[in-house]
Each structure stands twice: as structure tokens, then as C-alpha cells.
């Protein structure tokens, strides 16, 4: 398995905080990787750094090319091959452009022809030509998401980073976006980096999963195994906290105690220890390294769950 994207020891700093702390991660061609975590976990920051939209320290290679050694032509090529679909779709569309112009714009930026493909691209995502002359503020959340997706797809990318693709959408239409992404992946062999706090979504569509807590990777591995046998107490807590329909009230839904610490002052040692039900003295002093835990998993915990 050759990695399409490979990142080693990526650190992203903002003025007074370390938003992403030494994260290593890889993504194979055609694979769907989920990045999960709560606010302050650095998941969106990491995703943006991985495609060169934020300055970082460490190593990131896409198709074997190191991101920080790209010339202008290499940059442009990268921007064509790797696409971001932003979380807030409506405000990610330039407000004075029509939908048609918005979908043409990526082609114009890269000096490519075939502007007439805009309508077909929209149609392929289930939106009619009537939408072409609308402005972003006239679109519903779901429509805007699909326009943003059309802009990404028209450049024929190999990797799409989808930041919270279902956020702000009703449950009944969330599936449409997810199904479009899955279908594209099957047809085009697209790799997908899916950033989400919604574990239900992650569970349905990702092959592998990386869980972040306060800027650090706590567990990675095949999604199925992580849900069946979480090794890190935080992974377990996240799964237990996710809401599921349970009118008989048989499943214990539990929540880890305490608040999310501020990323400006992360706890010493293991960052999860103040909320961890299994924390011991060692967890308070020593930060656990990410180590292999079988079944293709890695976990950063001194006392992983059996």
C-alpha cells in the first residue's frame, strides 16, 4: 500500500498555543480516513495543514512530493489534485458569484477549458440547471454543500478533504452528501479525508479512523475495530457519549466527567488523564507515545483497554 498522503510529526502552532502536536498519519489512494475529535482537538487545523493551507513544522508528502518544496507550478498542481470542501458551505462560496461562475472558477484559475461542463457537474450531483444563475445566499445548506462539492470535483482531484460534511444539515439529507462521496470514491478511486465530530457519520463511511484529543493523536486504526474494541479510554468515552435511539433505555449512555480543557493550557502527562476513569499516577506525569496495538492499530495510552 503506497501512501497518497504521508505526514510525520506535524506540529501546527498558533500565536500562543500548539494546535496540533506531533501527529503522524497516512492515507492510501482510494481510502477514506476519518479525523474525529471534539472542539479544540485540532482536527480541522490538522486537515488544513496536511494540504498546505496552514504553515506547519514536520514532514508532509502528497504523491511523494514534500509540500514545503513545491515551486509555483507544483503548488498549482497540488491545488488541482487536492480539494477542500469547507464546513460552512454557504459562506465558502464567494457571495457575488453565481453558481455557474463559482463552478467555472476552478477551471479558470487553472487555465483549463471546458467551462460548459459546469452544468453537467451540477447535474451529476442532483441539482438542476435552474440553480446556475442563483447566488450563494439563495441556496439551502444542502444545495450549497453540493455546489462546493461540484467546484471540487470539476478539477478531477485524487483527494478530497471534507470538513464536517454533514454539519448544519438535517438528518434526512445528510445521507445524500455521504452517498455522493461514497459513490465518487467507488467510481473514481478518490481518497477522502473526512473531518467530523459526528461518530455516527464516521462509522458509516470511513475505512480508517484517527481520534484526536487536544492536538494529539490518541488512537488510529480500522474504523470497525475501533468501534468494536476501543483501546483508548477517550475513544471508548466518545463512542459511549454518541447519541443513539434507545427508547427502552437499555444502553448505558455515559459521559466522561469534567470539561474539555482549554487547548491553551493542556494538562501535563496524558492530556486525557483529568477526565479518564482509569487514570493512574503515571498518566499524570508521563505523556504516552503512540504505539502499535495489533490489528493495524496504534494507541497512545499507558493502560490501554483490553
Amino acid at each position: 500500500m503506497s501512501a497518497l498522503l504521508e505526514a510525520r510529526d506535524v506540529i501546527v502552532r498558533f500565536a500562543r498555543m500548539v494546535a496540533v502536536d506531533r501527529v503522524s498519519i497516512a492515507l492510501a489512494a482510494g481510502e477514506t480516513l476519518g479525523l474525529a475529535g471534539e472542539s479544540g482537538s485540532g482536527k480541522t487545523t490538522l486537515a488544513k495543514a496536511l494540504i498546505g493551507l496552514l504553515p506547519y513544522q514536520g514532514q508532509v508528502e502528497i504523491e511523494g512530493m514534500s509540500l514545503d518544496r513545491l515551486d509555483r507550478a507544483g503548488q498549482l498542481r497540488l491545488r488541482r489534485r487536492v480539494q477542500l470542501v469547507a464546513q460552512d458551505a454557504v459562506s465558502s462560496l464567494s457571495p457575488r458569484f453565481t453558481v455557474r461562475r463559482l463552478i467555472e472558477e476552478p477551471l479558470r484559475i487553472h487555465g483549463l477549458g471546458g467551462l460548459e461542463r459546469a452544468a453537467a457537474q451540477l447535474d451529476a450531483l442532483g441539482l438542476g440547471p435552474a440553480l446556475l444563475d442563483r447566488y450563494p445566499h439563495e441556496l439551502s445548506g444542502g444545495q450549497a454543500k453540493r455546489v462546493a462539492l461540484a467546484r471540487a470535483l470539476i478539477l478531477d482531484p485524487i483527494l478530497i478533504v471534507a470538513d464536517e460534511p454533514t454539519a448544519g444539515l438535517d438528518v434526512s439529507v445528510q445521507g445524500e452528501i455521504l452517498n455522493i462521496l461514497s459513490a465518487l470514491q467507488a467510481e473514481r478511486g478518490l481518497a477522502l479525508l473526512l473531518v467530523s465530530h459526528n461518530l455516527t457519520v464516521i462509522r458509516r463511511v470511513t475505512d480508517r479512523l484517527a481520534i484526536l484529543y487536544l492536538g494529539r493523536l490518541v488512537e488510529t486504526g480500522p474504523t470497525r475495530f475501533l468501534f468494536e474494541r476501543p483501546a483508548h479510554p477517550y475513544t471508548a468515552a466518545l463512542i459511549a457519549a454518541a447519541p443513539v435511539i434507545d427508547a427502552e433505555r437499555v444502553h448505558p449512555r455515559s459521559a466522561p466527567a469534567g470539561d474539555l480543557p482549554s487547548p491553551f493550557h493542556p494538562p501535563e502527562g496524558c492530556r486525557f488523564h483529568p477526565r479518564c476513569p482509569y487514570a493512574q499516577a503515571r498518566c499524570r506525569m508521563e505523556s504516552p507515545e503512540l504505539v502499535p496495538a495489533g490489528e493495524g492499530r496504534m494507541v497512545a495510552c499507558h493502560f490501554p483497554l483490553g
Binding site: 471534539e38 472542539s39 439551502s140 444542502g142 438535517d170 438528518v171 434526512s172 439529507v173 445528510q174 445521507g175 445524500e176 455521504l178 452517498n179 461514497s182 465530530h197 459526528n198 461518530l199 455516527t200 462509522r203 458509516r204 463511511v205 468515552a237 466518545l238 459511549a240 457519549a241 454518541a242 447519541p243 443513539v244 435511539i245 434507545d246 427508547a247 427502552e248 433505555r249 449512555r253 455515559s254 459521559a255 466522561p256 466527567a257 470539561d259 474539555l260
Partner: protein, 313 residues
Amino acid sequence: MTLLELRDLSLDYAGKRSLDRLSLTLERGRILGLVGESGSGKSSLALALMDLLPGNAALDGQILLNGTDLRAITPHQRAALRGRKLAMVFQDPMTALNPLFPIGRQLVDAQRARHPEAGRRALLDRGREMLRRVGIADPEARLKAYPHELSGGMRQRVLIAMALLCEPDLLIADEPTTALDVTIEAQIMGLFEELRDHFSGSILFISHSLALVSRLADEVAVLYAGHLIETAPARTLFALPAHPYTQALIACETGEGEGKIVPTIPGAVPAPGSDLPGCSFAPRCPARQPLCIEAAPPLRDVGQGRRAACHFA
């Protein structure tokens, strides 16, 4: 005994129908879960109950609280109900507290309507005790804190404490966990589940999530495009949903599809004011018949305590 009864409640915004002849009852001491997606009118209903609708809203029908029609009393009497009989917990805990005053003062002010004669000390003591009850550690220190010094989860706990301090007959919670992280949401939902045993009033819990409502509510009402399309005891609703929309929504949330294909409901909610002659869900309904497009189904008894607005339920 019935605490709240809505009779043929309709709401129009600038001539566009947002709630259509809603009839619903809530018993004393019970929790009603009101579920709907965007455009269902669920938040408008909460605002209508609190008398907080904007000026371009036109209400029709009756809202009976303890048998009194809230629409027949004077605005002054109506306003006096807020903070005494009715209290509300809003969606966004970041903006629902006044940033200029410490928590303690806001807790005292929240009780003023209820206890006009009580001294500040006494109200502060009650506030401290309530903070402890809603799970805030070190309440003494929090009383002096300003809202921006508290996390989102803690602010929502403060807002719930504020609402409970009013000892309302009806507590309205409008998507109280939507703005929170999932582990914090689970904590707040745990708090609501505890309230079931400690709070004597009724709760109207409004949410877009069937999952949240399923664990909490005694009764569930499902709204779609301003229409009440199903009500049932919670267990029955999730075990035997009668309306195709409820069925589809449950499928969407549990997400059991084939492989990576996720269940969805094709189409979109009809735009407000589109005034379909038939069932509002008909355009998206998998079990649609010609009748559904022609005639709107009334809400009717379909057995086992369920009422559903579907010709074929």
C-alpha cells in the same frame, strides 16, 4: 392532569404558514419530546408559548396553560407568566447569559419574578444550592464568575439552574445541547434524565434528534413542515412508528443501509407557504398514493396510543 393544551394553533409569518392547526396536550410532570427538522416550526412553537414571537408573526388558535387561554389574557399578565409558570433554556449558551454581570447576580435576578419579597442573600443561597444540583463543582466560586469565564457546558448548566430556580410549571428546552461537544452533550442529557426524578413540572424538550428524545421523553410529537404528523408514547413511537416520515427519520438516524449507502429521504421540506392540498410529506413519501396528493390526512387514532396524520397508517 393536563398542564398544557394547544388547540388548533396556527402560526403565519408574513402570510406564510409556519404551524398548521396544531393540537397537542402535555400532562403535568411529564416530558414531551418535540422532534422536527429545520422548517418544521418547532422553535416557532417554543417562542409562541413564551410569547416571544417577532412582530410579523400572526397566531391563531388556543394555548391553554392550566386551563387558562394564554391568548385571551392581557400582555401584562402574559409577561408575568415568564419566570414563574414558564421558563426556557435556549440553544446557544454562549449568548443567553448577560456578559456584563456575574453568574450570582443573574441567578438572583432570574428568581425575582418568583420571589419578589425574598432577600438577596436568600436568593443567592438558593442559587448556590441549585448550581450544586445541576452538577457545577465549586458553586461558591462560580457565583462570582462572569459568563466568559465558564465553558459552554457549564454555561448551559447555569441556564438550566436559572430555569429551575423559577420553579416553573413548564420548562421549555429548545435544542439545549446542539451547540455543545458530544461528551458535554451526554453530560447535559444526563442532567435532564436526572431532572425526571427531581423536577415536579413538565418539560417540553425540543430537538432535531430522535436519539436524544428517545432516552428522555415520555411522549414524542413529530413535526413536519408545520404539521403535527405523529404523537405517541416514546416506546411505542420507536418500536412501531406509524407515519412514513417517522419511519424514514428513524432509519436515517440509525443509518442501517447497505454497505456504505446511507438511508436518506429524497427531496426537501416544502418551502413555507407552499400550501400543498395534500399531505405535506407526500412529495417525499416512499408509500405515496394518489389520495395523498389530493387530500390532507387528519391526525387520527391509529391504535396503541398513537395518533398519526397519514391516510395509510
